[in-house]
Symmetry: C2
DNA sequence: GCCTTATATCTCATTTACTAAGATAATTAG
DNA sequence: CTAATTATCTTAGTAAATGAGATATAAGGC
Protein backbone atom coordinates (compact mmCIF):
# COMPACT_ATOMS: atom_id res chain seq x y z
CA UNK A 1 0.00 0.00 0.00
CA UNK A 2 1.44 3.37 -1.00
CA UNK A 3 1.97 6.08 1.56
CA UNK A 4 -0.49 8.24 -0.39
CA UNK A 5 -3.23 5.69 0.09
CA UNK A 6 -2.45 5.40 3.76
CA UNK A 7 -2.67 9.16 4.15
CA UNK A 8 -6.03 9.16 2.43
CA UNK A 9 -7.28 6.34 4.60
CA UNK A 10 -6.14 8.39 7.58
CA UNK A 11 -8.08 11.41 6.38
CA UNK A 12 -11.17 9.34 5.85
CA UNK A 13 -10.91 7.91 9.34
CA UNK A 14 -10.36 11.41 10.65
CA UNK A 15 -13.47 12.67 8.90
CA UNK A 16 -15.54 9.87 10.35
CA UNK A 17 -14.13 10.39 13.84
CA UNK A 18 -14.73 14.13 13.78
CA UNK A 19 -18.23 13.66 12.47
CA UNK A 20 -18.96 11.16 15.20
CA UNK A 21 -17.65 13.29 18.04
CA UNK A 22 -19.29 16.45 16.78
CA UNK A 23 -22.64 14.65 16.49
CA UNK A 24 -22.23 13.52 20.08
CA UNK A 25 -21.41 17.09 21.05
CA UNK A 26 -24.73 18.18 19.55
CA UNK A 27 -26.52 15.57 21.65
CA UNK A 28 -24.78 16.85 24.75
CA UNK A 29 -25.95 20.37 24.03
CA UNK A 30 -29.51 19.14 23.58
CA UNK A 31 -29.37 17.30 26.87
CA UNK A 32 -28.22 20.51 28.56
CA UNK A 33 -31.06 22.51 26.97
CA UNK A 34 -33.49 19.86 28.16
CA UNK A 35 -32.23 20.06 31.72
CA UNK A 36 -32.25 23.84 31.71
CA UNK A 37 -35.82 23.66 30.48
CA UNK A 38 -35.24 25.75 27.34
CA UNK A 39 -35.53 24.90 23.66
CA UNK A 40 -32.61 24.10 21.38
CA UNK A 41 -32.98 27.44 19.62
CA UNK A 42 -32.94 29.27 22.93
CA UNK A 43 -29.84 27.32 23.94
CA UNK A 44 -28.12 28.09 20.65
CA UNK A 45 -28.71 31.79 21.19
CA UNK A 46 -27.23 31.54 24.67
CA UNK A 47 -24.16 29.92 23.10
CA UNK A 48 -23.83 32.70 20.56
CA UNK A 49 -24.16 35.27 23.31
CA UNK A 50 -21.43 33.52 25.27
CA UNK A 51 -19.11 33.51 22.27
CA UNK A 52 -19.85 36.95 20.83
CA UNK A 53 -20.95 38.85 23.91
CA UNK A 54 -23.57 41.57 23.52
CA UNK A 55 -25.28 41.15 20.11
CA UNK A 56 -28.35 42.60 18.41
CA UNK A 57 -31.56 40.65 17.82
CA UNK A 58 -30.91 40.89 14.10
CA UNK A 59 -27.49 39.29 14.46
CA UNK A 60 -29.05 36.34 16.30
CA UNK A 61 -31.49 35.90 13.41
CA UNK A 62 -28.64 36.08 10.91
CA UNK A 63 -26.45 33.56 12.72
CA UNK A 64 -29.15 31.06 13.68
CA UNK A 65 -30.98 31.29 10.36
CA UNK A 66 -34.27 31.94 12.15
CA UNK A 67 -36.59 34.78 11.11
CA UNK A 68 -36.54 37.98 13.14
CA UNK A 69 -40.04 37.11 14.31
CA UNK A 70 -38.82 33.83 15.76
CA UNK A 71 -35.94 35.63 17.49
CA UNK A 72 -38.41 37.96 19.16
CA UNK A 73 -39.95 34.83 20.67
CA UNK A 74 -36.57 33.38 21.69
CA UNK A 75 -35.55 36.61 23.43
CA UNK A 76 -38.98 36.95 25.06
CA UNK A 77 -38.61 33.49 26.60
CA UNK A 78 -34.99 33.97 27.64
CA UNK A 79 -35.73 37.39 29.10
CA UNK A 80 -38.75 36.11 30.98
CA UNK A 81 -36.63 33.28 32.42
CA UNK A 82 -34.02 35.86 33.47
CA UNK A 83 -31.13 34.64 31.30
CA UNK A 84 -30.83 37.78 29.17
CA UNK A 85 -31.72 41.45 29.12
CA UNK A 86 -32.86 43.67 26.24
CA UNK A 87 -30.98 46.95 25.96
CA UNK A 88 -31.89 49.57 23.37
CA UNK A 89 -28.89 51.14 21.69
CA UNK A 90 -28.74 54.81 22.65
CA UNK A 91 -27.13 55.95 19.41
CA UNK A 92 -29.46 53.95 17.12
CA UNK A 93 -32.73 53.43 18.88
CA UNK A 94 -33.97 50.86 16.37
CA UNK A 95 -31.39 48.36 17.58
CA UNK A 96 -31.95 46.07 20.54
CA UNK A 97 -28.85 44.58 22.10
CA UNK A 98 -29.23 41.32 23.95
CA UNK A 99 -26.85 40.67 26.83
CA UNK A 100 -26.58 37.70 29.18
CA UNK A 101 -27.33 37.98 32.87
CA UNK A 102 -24.20 36.18 34.05
CA UNK A 103 -25.44 35.17 37.50
CA UNK A 104 -28.45 33.43 35.99
CA UNK A 105 -26.53 31.98 33.03
CA UNK A 106 -24.14 30.32 35.48
CA UNK A 107 -27.00 27.96 36.37
CA UNK A 108 -26.78 26.60 32.84
CA UNK A 109 -22.99 26.53 33.05
CA UNK A 110 -23.30 23.90 35.78
CA UNK A 111 -24.61 21.41 33.27
CA UNK A 112 -21.34 21.69 31.36
CA UNK A 113 -19.40 20.37 34.35
CA UNK A 114 -19.48 16.72 33.23
CA UNK A 115 -18.21 17.82 29.81
CA UNK A 116 -15.44 19.97 31.24
CA UNK A 117 -14.41 17.16 33.58
CA UNK A 118 -14.26 14.75 30.66
CA UNK A 119 -12.15 17.19 28.62
CA UNK A 120 -9.73 17.88 31.48
CA UNK A 121 -9.32 14.15 31.99
CA UNK A 122 -8.76 13.66 28.27
CA UNK A 123 -6.27 16.49 27.95
CA UNK A 124 -4.27 15.31 30.94
CA UNK A 125 -3.09 12.46 28.73
CA UNK A 126 -1.44 14.85 26.28
CA UNK A 127 1.83 16.81 26.46
CA UNK A 128 1.98 20.59 26.24
CA UNK A 129 3.29 20.34 22.69
CA UNK A 130 0.48 18.03 21.72
CA UNK A 131 -2.11 20.36 23.24
CA UNK A 132 -0.57 23.26 21.33
CA UNK A 133 -1.01 21.29 18.13
CA UNK A 134 -4.62 20.59 19.03
CA UNK A 135 -5.20 24.27 19.70
CA UNK A 136 -3.70 25.21 16.36
CA UNK A 137 -5.89 22.61 14.73
CA UNK A 138 -9.04 23.80 16.50
CA UNK A 139 -8.36 27.39 15.47
CA UNK A 140 -7.58 26.46 11.88
CA UNK A 141 -10.62 24.20 11.87
CA UNK A 142 -12.85 27.02 13.01
CA UNK A 143 -11.65 29.18 10.14
CA UNK A 144 -12.21 26.29 7.74
CA UNK A 145 -15.76 25.67 8.90
CA UNK A 146 -16.49 29.38 8.74
CA UNK A 147 -15.27 29.53 5.13
CA UNK A 148 -17.23 26.39 4.30
CA UNK A 149 -20.38 27.96 5.73
CA UNK A 150 -19.85 31.00 3.49
CA UNK A 151 -19.20 28.76 0.50
CA UNK A 152 -22.38 26.83 1.24
CA UNK A 153 -24.42 29.99 1.48
CA UNK A 154 -23.01 30.95 -1.91
CA UNK A 155 -24.58 27.75 -3.27
CA UNK A 156 -27.98 29.01 -2.09
CA UNK A 157 -27.71 31.90 -4.52
CA UNK A 158 -26.62 29.69 -7.42
CA UNK A 159 -29.06 29.09 -10.26
CA UNK A 160 -30.24 25.44 -10.16
CA UNK A 161 -28.34 24.33 -13.27
CA UNK A 162 -25.05 25.54 -11.82
CA UNK A 163 -25.92 24.01 -8.46
CA UNK A 164 -26.38 20.63 -10.13
CA UNK A 165 -22.74 20.66 -11.19
CA UNK A 166 -21.54 20.31 -7.61
CA UNK A 167 -19.47 17.15 -7.34
CA UNK A 168 -18.11 15.10 -4.49
CA UNK A 169 -14.39 15.73 -3.98
CA UNK A 170 -12.26 13.26 -6.04
CA UNK A 171 -11.41 10.47 -3.62
CA UNK A 172 -13.67 10.80 -0.61
CA UNK A 173 -16.88 9.37 -2.02
CA UNK A 174 -18.64 6.87 0.17
CA UNK B 1 4.57 32.34 35.23
CA UNK B 2 4.85 28.68 36.21
CA UNK B 3 4.58 25.97 33.58
CA UNK B 4 1.44 24.73 35.36
CA UNK B 5 -0.25 28.05 34.82
CA UNK B 6 0.73 28.07 31.18
CA UNK B 7 -0.71 24.60 30.74
CA UNK B 8 -3.95 25.72 32.32
CA UNK B 9 -4.10 28.77 30.11
CA UNK B 10 -3.55 26.45 27.17
CA UNK B 11 -6.44 24.24 28.26
CA UNK B 12 -8.71 27.23 28.66
CA UNK B 13 -7.83 28.46 25.20
CA UNK B 14 -8.40 24.97 23.90
CA UNK B 15 -11.83 24.81 25.51
CA UNK B 16 -12.81 28.14 23.97
CA UNK B 17 -11.48 27.14 20.54
CA UNK B 18 -13.26 23.81 20.55
CA UNK B 19 -16.48 25.42 21.70
CA UNK B 20 -16.23 28.00 18.94
CA UNK B 21 -15.55 25.52 16.17
CA UNK B 22 -18.18 23.07 17.33
CA UNK B 23 -20.78 25.87 17.47
CA UNK B 24 -19.85 26.79 13.91
CA UNK B 25 -20.18 23.14 12.95
CA UNK B 26 -23.73 23.16 14.28
CA UNK B 27 -24.51 26.21 12.14
CA UNK B 28 -23.12 24.43 9.11
CA UNK B 29 -25.39 21.46 9.73
CA UNK B 30 -28.38 23.77 10.04
CA UNK B 31 -27.51 25.48 6.78
CA UNK B 32 -27.38 22.06 5.10
CA UNK B 33 -30.76 21.07 6.56
CA UNK B 34 -32.18 24.38 5.29
CA UNK B 35 -30.88 23.78 1.80
CA UNK B 36 -32.12 20.22 1.75
CA UNK B 37 -35.49 21.53 2.86
CA UNK B 38 -35.73 19.36 5.97
CA UNK B 39 -35.88 20.24 9.67
CA UNK B 40 -32.98 20.05 12.09
CA UNK B 41 -34.48 16.99 13.77
CA UNK B 42 -34.87 15.27 10.42
CA UNK B 43 -31.27 16.13 9.58
CA UNK B 44 -30.05 14.83 12.92
CA UNK B 45 -31.77 11.53 12.29
CA UNK B 46 -30.13 11.29 8.86
CA UNK B 47 -26.77 11.84 10.59
CA UNK B 48 -27.48 9.09 13.10
CA UNK B 49 -28.49 6.78 10.28
CA UNK B 50 -25.26 7.57 8.48
CA UNK B 51 -23.19 6.82 11.58
CA UNK B 52 -25.05 3.81 12.92
CA UNK B 53 -26.54 2.37 9.74
CA UNK B 54 -29.91 0.64 9.96
CA UNK B 55 -31.55 1.56 13.28
CA UNK B 56 -34.99 1.16 14.83
CA UNK B 57 -37.45 4.02 15.33
CA UNK B 58 -37.08 3.54 19.07
CA UNK B 59 -33.32 3.98 18.90
CA UNK B 60 -33.78 7.28 17.05
CA UNK B 61 -36.09 8.45 19.84
CA UNK B 62 -33.57 7.36 22.47
CA UNK B 63 -30.61 9.06 20.82
CA UNK B 64 -32.32 12.31 19.80
CA UNK B 65 -34.29 12.65 23.03
CA UNK B 66 -37.53 13.08 21.08
CA UNK B 67 -40.67 11.11 21.95
CA UNK B 68 -41.55 8.07 19.86
CA UNK B 69 -44.51 10.05 18.55
CA UNK B 70 -42.24 12.77 17.24
CA UNK B 71 -40.01 10.16 15.60
CA UNK B 72 -43.02 8.77 13.76
CA UNK B 73 -43.40 12.25 12.27
CA UNK B 74 -39.69 12.53 11.43
CA UNK B 75 -39.67 9.17 9.66
CA UNK B 76 -42.95 9.96 7.88
CA UNK B 77 -41.44 13.13 6.44
CA UNK B 78 -38.11 11.52 5.52
CA UNK B 79 -39.84 8.52 3.96
CA UNK B 80 -42.20 10.72 1.98
CA UNK B 81 -39.22 12.74 0.70
CA UNK B 82 -37.55 9.46 -0.29
CA UNK B 83 -34.51 9.67 2.01
CA UNK B 84 -35.33 6.58 4.09
CA UNK B 85 -37.33 3.39 4.03
CA UNK B 86 -39.26 1.63 6.82
CA UNK B 87 -38.50 -2.09 7.09
CA UNK B 88 -40.28 -4.33 9.59
CA UNK B 89 -37.98 -6.74 11.36
CA UNK B 90 -38.89 -10.28 10.29
CA UNK B 91 -37.92 -11.87 13.60
CA UNK B 92 -39.64 -9.28 15.82
CA UNK B 93 -42.49 -7.77 13.90
CA UNK B 94 -43.04 -4.94 16.41
CA UNK B 95 -39.74 -3.36 15.39
CA UNK B 96 -39.40 -0.99 12.46
CA UNK B 97 -35.92 -0.56 11.08
CA UNK B 98 -35.16 2.69 9.29
CA UNK B 99 -32.58 2.56 6.52
CA UNK B 100 -31.27 5.28 4.26
CA UNK B 101 -31.92 5.28 0.54
CA UNK B 102 -28.32 5.98 -0.49
CA UNK B 103 -29.02 7.36 -3.97
CA UNK B 104 -31.39 9.96 -2.56
CA UNK B 105 -29.26 10.70 0.52
CA UNK B 106 -26.34 11.50 -1.81
CA UNK B 107 -28.25 14.65 -2.76
CA UNK B 108 -27.77 15.85 0.80
CA UNK B 109 -24.17 14.67 0.76
CA UNK B 110 -23.47 17.25 -1.93
CA UNK B 111 -24.02 20.03 0.55
CA UNK B 112 -21.13 18.70 2.60
CA UNK B 113 -18.73 19.29 -0.28
CA UNK B 114 -17.66 22.78 0.86
CA UNK B 115 -16.99 21.35 4.33
CA UNK B 116 -15.01 18.39 3.00
CA UNK B 117 -13.01 20.69 0.76
CA UNK B 118 -12.22 22.95 3.70
CA UNK B 119 -11.13 19.96 5.80
CA UNK B 120 -8.93 18.50 3.07
CA UNK B 121 -7.30 21.87 2.62
CA UNK B 122 -6.80 22.17 6.36
CA UNK B 123 -5.39 18.68 6.76
CA UNK B 124 -2.97 19.11 3.90
CA UNK B 125 -1.02 21.44 6.18
CA UNK B 126 -0.37 18.65 8.68
CA UNK B 127 2.06 15.73 8.62
CA UNK B 128 0.95 12.10 8.82
CA UNK B 129 2.12 11.94 12.42
CA UNK B 130 0.16 15.04 13.29
CA UNK B 131 -2.96 13.69 11.62
CA UNK B 132 -2.56 10.47 13.58
CA UNK B 133 -2.46 12.48 16.78
CA UNK B 134 -5.60 14.34 15.72
CA UNK B 135 -7.31 11.04 14.98
CA UNK B 136 -6.37 9.70 18.39
CA UNK B 137 -7.65 12.88 19.94
CA UNK B 138 -10.93 12.79 18.01
CA UNK B 139 -11.52 9.18 19.04
CA UNK B 140 -10.66 9.83 22.69
CA UNK B 141 -12.77 12.96 22.55
CA UNK B 142 -15.75 11.04 21.29
CA UNK B 143 -15.46 8.61 24.21
CA UNK B 144 -15.16 11.56 26.59
CA UNK B 145 -18.25 13.30 25.28
CA UNK B 146 -20.16 10.03 25.38
CA UNK B 147 -19.22 9.52 29.03
CA UNK B 148 -20.09 13.13 29.80
CA UNK B 149 -23.50 12.66 28.22
CA UNK B 150 -24.10 9.64 30.44
CA UNK B 151 -22.88 11.57 33.49
CA UNK B 152 -25.23 14.42 32.63
CA UNK B 153 -28.16 12.09 32.25
CA UNK B 154 -27.30 10.72 35.70
CA UNK B 155 -27.82 14.25 37.05
CA UNK B 156 -31.37 14.18 35.72
CA UNK B 157 -32.16 11.36 38.09
CA UNK B 158 -30.54 13.07 41.08
CA UNK B 159 -32.75 14.43 43.84
CA UNK B 160 -32.65 18.27 43.73
CA UNK B 161 -30.61 18.70 46.94
CA UNK B 162 -27.84 16.47 45.57
CA UNK B 163 -28.03 18.21 42.21
CA UNK B 164 -27.42 21.57 43.91
CA UNK B 165 -24.04 20.33 45.10
CA UNK B 166 -22.69 20.30 41.56
CA UNK B 167 -19.69 22.58 41.42
CA UNK B 168 -17.60 24.07 38.68
CA UNK B 169 -14.28 22.23 38.29
CA UNK B 170 -11.54 23.82 40.50
CA UNK B 171 -9.68 26.16 38.16
CA UNK B 172 -11.77 26.61 35.05
CA UNK B 173 -14.41 29.01 36.33
CA UNK B 174 -15.11 31.97 34.14
C1' DG C 1 -36.84 71.11 7.33
C1' DC C 2 -39.75 67.62 4.64
C1' DC C 3 -40.25 63.37 1.89
C1' DT C 4 -38.55 58.96 0.45
C1' DT C 5 -36.07 54.90 1.17
C1' DA C 6 -33.71 51.83 4.15
C1' DT C 7 -33.05 49.44 8.44
C1' DA C 8 -34.33 46.97 12.89
C1' DT C 9 -37.60 44.94 15.57
C1' DC C 10 -42.09 43.44 16.66
C1' DT C 11 -47.00 41.65 15.76
C1' DC C 12 -50.23 38.38 14.17
C1' DA C 13 -52.42 34.66 11.55
C1' DT C 14 -51.24 30.35 9.92
C1' DT C 15 -48.48 26.26 9.54
C1' DT C 16 -45.43 22.87 11.36
C1' DA C 17 -43.42 20.08 14.92
C1' DC C 18 -43.53 18.30 19.54
C1' DT C 19 -45.48 16.24 23.82
C1' DA C 20 -48.41 13.32 26.66
C1' DA C 21 -51.45 9.87 26.91
C1' DG C 22 -53.21 6.04 25.30
C1' DA C 23 -54.40 2.65 21.27
C1' DT C 24 -52.64 -1.19 18.55
C1' DA C 25 -49.98 -5.07 17.73
C1' DA C 26 -46.33 -8.40 18.58
C1' DT C 27 -43.45 -10.78 22.04
C1' DT C 28 -42.18 -12.96 26.38
C1' DA C 29 -43.03 -14.96 30.96
C1' DG C 30 -45.64 -17.32 33.98
C1' DC D 1 -53.64 -19.12 27.50
C1' DT D 2 -53.39 -15.02 30.00
C1' DA D 3 -50.87 -11.23 31.81
C1' DA D 4 -47.21 -8.25 31.47
C1' DT D 5 -43.88 -6.11 28.46
C1' DT D 6 -42.08 -3.96 24.42
C1' DA D 7 -42.25 -1.16 20.00
C1' DT D 8 -44.59 1.82 17.21
C1' DC D 9 -48.37 4.63 15.89
C1' DT D 10 -52.47 7.80 16.68
C1' DT D 11 -54.65 11.82 18.37
C1' DA D 12 -55.65 16.10 20.84
C1' DG D 13 -53.61 19.90 22.55
C1' DT D 14 -49.54 23.05 22.94
C1' DA D 15 -45.39 25.34 21.52
C1' DA D 16 -42.48 27.34 18.21
C1' DA D 17 -41.57 28.74 13.49
C1' DT D 18 -42.77 31.15 9.12
C1' DG D 19 -44.39 34.93 6.09
C1' DA D 20 -46.38 39.16 5.60
C1' DG D 21 -46.88 43.37 7.15
C1' DA D 22 -46.95 47.11 11.05
C1' DT D 23 -44.21 50.32 13.78
C1' DA D 24 -40.47 53.14 14.73
C1' DT D 25 -35.98 55.12 13.86
C1' DA D 26 -32.31 56.63 10.72
C1' DA D 27 -30.19 58.56 6.57
C1' DG D 28 -30.05 60.87 2.10
C1' DG D 29 -31.76 63.98 -1.51
C1' DC D 30 -33.83 68.15 -2.51
Amino acid sequence: MSSTTSREALMQELEEAMRRSSAQGVMYGQAVANMAGISNSDMECMDILHLEGRVTAGRLAEVTGLTTGAITGVVDRLEKAGYVRRERDASDRRKVFISVVEEKAAEIGKFYVPMQDAMLKLWSGYSDDELRLLLRFANDGYKGVLEATEALKAVIDMPPEQRAELKMPPKSRR
